[in-house]
Symmetry: C2
Subunit: 277 residues, 2 copies
């Protein structure tokens, strides 16, 4: 592993959910002032807003709109819910187009009332049915494998190899994979999976944070980079060895950090990014 620290912020992207207490307008202004160059927009941040105007506002702040989070949640034992999910994903593609981003991250979903294999078939079918719209809008869809602790309800795709297989089977320039260290760090096959992902042109996004010991909440206790046990530099070296030189996205859900003054938290994010990412 031969990798340098990130001495400037040219590749730093922050997810709006990382600073959830801020409205998107505040987030944009504060990220921009701090020198952050990328933003990933969570759909809840767009509620009640004109999406095109938000896109312009973000660009006027000098921010690259790296992706829209999140589409997905395709599986259900209820056919009507599966149909509703496709419609919602179509709306997401429209939002991404209007926002001016070329990527949507998919949290693919899972239904504990059916086999994981069935959920995976429904994920495949769901993404397939979206491909014409995605292609027309110029929006790619990134399958994000989620940690196995979310296999019951959030994603039936829990390893990078499963995401690779799904992306390869869908075989479209508009489908790829999002690599998030929080979900994948433990996997003994991760390096191999990242190599395969990159070799197939499927590595579309790279998300970082850290795994705290102890982790007190299964969803909202992610750590700042350096605070936990994830070998961040090692994983980044694998990602970059594929040729990936895109944004490095900080995505932290944390009840603890959301309680802080978000300006102070943003300073911590930037400092941790330079020191540990």
């Amino acid at each position: 592993m031969n990798i340098s620290p990130l001495t400037d912020l040219s590749r730093l992207c922050i997810h709006t959910i990382t600073t959830k207490p801020w409205k998107i307008e505040q987030a944009a202004e504060n990220y921009s002032t701090a020198g952050v160059k990328g933003i990933t927009v969570w759909r809840d941040a767009l509620t009640g807003r004109d999406v095109k105007k938000i896109g312009d506002m973000l660009r006027n702040q000098g921010l690259n709109i790296v992706s829209l989070c999140r589409g997905g949640f395709f599986p259900s034992t209820d056919k009507n819910k599966r149909i509703a999910s496709i419609e919602d994903n179509r709306r997401a593609i429209g939002e991404a187009y209007n926002l001016g981003t070329s990527l949507i991250v998919l949290v693919c979903g899972s239904d504990p009332g059916q086999a994981l294999e069935t959920s995976r078939e429904q994920i495949f079918d769901g993404i397939s049915s979206l491909l014409p719209e995605a292609e027309a809008a110029g929006v790619r869809l990134a399958i994000e494998p989620l940690h196995p602790m979310y296999a019951d309800t959030r994603s039936a795709i829990n390893t990078i190899e499963q995401a690779n297989e799904m992306a390869e089977k869908l075989d479209s320039d508009f489908v790829g994979v999002a690599v998030d260290v929080y979900h994948l760090w433990w996997d003994p096959l991760l390096e191999k999976g990242i190599q395969r992902c990159g070799a197939n042109g499927n590595l579309l996004a790279f998300h970082i944070c850290d795994w705290k010991s102890p982790t007190t909440d299964m969803l909202n206790d992610r750590g700042l980079m350096g605070e936990g046990c994830i070998p961040l530099r090692k994983i980044r070296s694998w990602v970059e060895a594929t040729g990936f030189n895109g944004f490095i996205e900080v995505e932290i859900f944390s009840n603890e950090y959301w309680k802080l003054d978000q300006a102070i938290f943003l300073e911590k994010v930037i400092s941790a990014y330079k020191k540990y990412a």
Copy 2:
């Protein structure tokens, strides 16, 4: 999948921790009265007791002593802790011998202060150093792969394939694998891993419970069989296809169920075993 329900209790084993509020004497009497045929003893249940006498008491209740839980926790950044861990595992082998069981389940451990690969090397070294004592005592050691959500502190072995590899590398008749559905159900390679485990003579134990949606505690919110999304019968069919016909061990950690009258909870365990295991 072609598998029959378990209509009698001849293969039912319960872990003492499942009914944690009961002392081992109460657990033994109540399991026996209910017709349960196996018990796995957690070491905390032996505190302050003569282990040989407990072994006799359990056998007098008609219980097979399926295993002792648990050894392991080999890795540490601190060499003295690693040495202390080996000593503790030697004590566990002595306890298993005195209790009269031929199996110890290993929760192998992990230290968030070092790479998973380093923890795995220390696990290998730790088990290796115990093999002479294990062999002399006629006690086998079962590597239990733990869910990836425990990779930081509880086990650096998180898939059945990793456990298989470790067991095969140790290459001893006194080392094998414990399959626990809670840890492994999500793994797309599980069936293959169980086949390999069985083919190599390494499938030493089978633990069941269920994964609740939502799961509210990362450690102590396991479900009764049938309460969650684990395909229990399917996994049992894979286990039994290898020729395994040993005990089916109910291991439930649950703050919720430990609050119940344990006699009522035991009835629920038996009913769920017959209906869903």
